[in-house]
């Protein structure tokens, strides 16, 4: 926990400092009062100060519990993230239906689903079924890719 918190504090500090520097590009005051840079500047400053305080407090803590993800978390959580990212990347080129046709069974299998009929049914419903409902009934556009699907 302690190490995790320290890493987080340092990253937050970096973020606040980057925001602080960027906010200087925008004028701090304006003829009427605060300019576009005013709030970002002060917020980043306060944020940075508070993060340093938190850093000090965490450095003193003795919590040695590890928060590193175990093997299962890495594999399964990683599978979820990878699947999501790939799906997002393919969503517009391949279109909704094809992408979901790949995503759904892929992730189901990775997470341990075993029944072929259930997987296929879910894949069909989740890709073509859902598309039909949204696109034709609700008139909510979902992407259609290069292959016309």
């Amino acid at each position: 926990m302690r190490r995790g918190r320290l890493v987080a504090c340092v990253s937050l500090l970096g973020l606040f400092l980057a925001a602080l520097v960027t906010s200087l590009d925008y004028s701090l005051t304006d003829a009427l009062g605060p300019g576009p840079g005013f709030f970002p500047f002060w917020l980043s400053l306060i944020g940075a100060v508070l993060t340093v305080a938190m850093l000090i407090e965490d450095a003193r803590s003795q919590d040695a519990t590890s928060i590193l993800p175990n093997r299962q978390a890495l594999l399964q959580g990683g599978a979820v993230l990878v699947a999501l990212t790939v799906a997002a990347a393919l969503l517009e080129p391949l279109g909704f239906r094809l992408t979901m046709l790949l995503f759904i069974p892929g992730l189901l299998l990775a997470l341990g689903a075993r029944s072929p009929s259930a997987i296929l049914l879910t894949a069909a419903a989740g890709s073509f079924g859902v598309f039909h409902v949204f696109y034709y009934w609700l008139k909510v556009p979902l992407p259609i890719g290069a292959l016309g699907l």
Partner: protein
């Protein structure tokens, strides 16, 4: 004709078989719209407007209004079951609602939400009937300076959510406020912090962020556990226990009041009443550490406030013709297309129409309760499917939701990134709630400050010379001082919301 006379005529009209049917269809469609991802009430109502062209004006309005408050309830279902807010206003319900679901009390959560919504809605409608015009005038006295002061009160209330570590809560709140600054600024209309990406010009996108921070993070946390069940315990009784009833009563009462008064103020979005009700409930509770762990008041309060707000927000629309939120603006557009301009004129000239619509609110609220309560068990049981299917279903849901907001893959990407971030935050025990609330309040604060200064020509004394504004500022200071005084000593371990 006095008020009760009007109401009686209105009820008679609203209870015609045809209008009852419209209300029913509206409630069903609305709930579906609320459940479906991405399709917020505004978009859903807009899409369904052409449907109403063939209907008579009153019928159309009854249906559209039913869709509106039906959608408020629909969003709750996904918040409780899969920690994905179906729409912005349902975010707060995620905090305790999902925890309850994981403890096997999902049905109870949905049930109390339905009941609270009903009470809030009916109470607001009754108040609407009794005191509409004078109250509406009062709401007009809320201008940009008062709004700014109100937002400061909100900000002061956030400090009450820090939980375990006030410092962590503050850092997260500041982070949320800062992220809210991304986009086109209200001062010059120029992009700020957008890194040259046009998709960021309108800000980071609240819905993708919360879908990620809550929904996706939840899934990532679920898949790392050894057991194959999403819910730890079996589905217990759907009915709240006596103890839970007792606790919810107060929450429902307070939620109604808060939702109602905030609904009268034009410009207050639907989220604000839910978050105020939640924080107030946590404050008055003798055991605030239960919040965030499945406290039933944590569901009852925001849900009641939500519905009280939705019904109360119709008051400025019907009496003054002023829409309180983008969703109501869509409703107003629907009125106008059907040839009726809501406002004092319509109220005076066509009371039969206006009162029929008002009466139908009461009926609609009742219908929602009757429709939703039986299904609560069905919804809750969905969670007992094998976790792979629930997870993949949820992810599908989230992808559609994030994408369909603006037909943008960028939003999906933001959601995924926030999923990872939310996961990390939960692991290291940094509270997510203040972050979300900072994100909500940020734009309001800056914009209302700017508009106030434009009005006064740069004169800051405008905040001190307007009595209501001054009063609110004092309240904000009092709340802040109150939070700091209540700080528990550092050794006391409390859980973060």
């Amino acid at each position: 004709m006095d008020t009760f006379g009007h109401l009686a005529t209105g009820l008679a009209a609203a209870m015609s078989l045809q209008n009852l049917g419209f209300a029913l269809i509206g409630c069903v469609l609305g709930t579906l719209v609320g459940v479906l991802p991405g399709l917020g009430p505004a978009a859903g109502t807009a899409i369904l407007i052409p449907l109403t062209f063939k209907l008579d004006p009153v019928g159309a309005l009854i249906m559209l209004s039913a869709i509106y408050y039906g959608a408020m309830y629909g969003g709750t279902i996904t918040s409780v079951l899969i920690n994905v807010p179906g729409e912005a206003a349902s975010v707060i319900t995620c905090f305790d609602g999902n925890q309850m679901a994981k403890q096997g009390r999902g049905g109870t959560a949905l049930g109390i939400a339905a009941i609270g919504s009903f009470v809030g809605g009916i109470a607001a409608t009754i108040a609407l009937i009794a005191v509409a015009p004078p109250l509406a005038r009062l709401a007009l006295s809320f201008g940009p300076p008062e709004f700014f002061a109100l937002m400061l009160v909100g900000l002061a209330l956030i400090t009450g959510l820090g939980g375990r570590s006030l410092l962590a809560g503050l850092v997260m709140a500041v982070l949320g406020l800062l992220i809210a600054m991304v986009g086109i600024d209200p001062v010059r209309g120029a992009p700020r912090f957008t890194l040259g990406i046009p998709s960021l010009y309108d800000g980071v996108g609240f819905i993708p962020v919360v879908m990620g921070l809550f929904g996706i993070a939840e899934i990532l946390l679920t898949v790392e556990k050894p057991y194959r069940q999403v819910i730890k315990t079996k589905l217990t009784s759907l009915i709240p226990s006596r103890e839970e009833w007792r606790r919810s009563l107060g929450a429902i009462g307070r939620g109604t009041g808060i939702g109602f008064f905030l609904g009268l103020i034009p410009g207050v979005g639907a989220i604000i009443p839910t978050f105020v009700a939640y924080v107030v409930e946590k404050r008055v509770s003798k055991t605030p550490e239960r919040f965030g762990q499945g406290a039933i008041e944590g569901v009852a309060a925001p849900e009641t406030a939500n519905n009280a707000y939705a019904n109360a927000a119709m008051i400025p629309l019907l009496t003054l013709g002023i829409p309180s939120s983008p969703t109501i603006a869509v409703l107003m557009g629907a009125f106008i297309i059907n040839g009726l301009t809501p406002g004092p004129f319509l109220f005076k000239e066509r009371p039969d129409l206006v009162w029929a619509v008002i009466a139908s609110f009461m009926i609609g609220n009742m219908m929602l309760l009757v429709l939703n309560l039986p299904f609560v068990g069905v919804w809750a049981r969905l969670l007992h499917l094998p976790y792979q299917y629930v997870s993949v279903g949820t992810l599908l849901f989230c992808i559609i939701g994030a994408y369909s907001l603006q037909q943008s893959v960028f939003d999906v990407g933001v959601m995924i990134a926030c999923g990872l971030i939310g996961y990390c935050l939960r692991k290291i025990d940094l509270p997510v709630a203040p972050l979300v609330l900072g994100l909500i309040l940020g734009p309001f604060i800056e914009k209302s400050l700017r508009t106030s200064l434009e009005m006064s020509g740069g004169d800051f004394s405008i905040f001190a010379t307007r009595p209501l504004c001054l009063g609110l500022l004092v309240v904000a200071v009092l709340v802040l001082v109150g939070s700091l005084l209540r700080l528990p000593p550092p050794e006391v371990r409390q859980s973060s919301a």
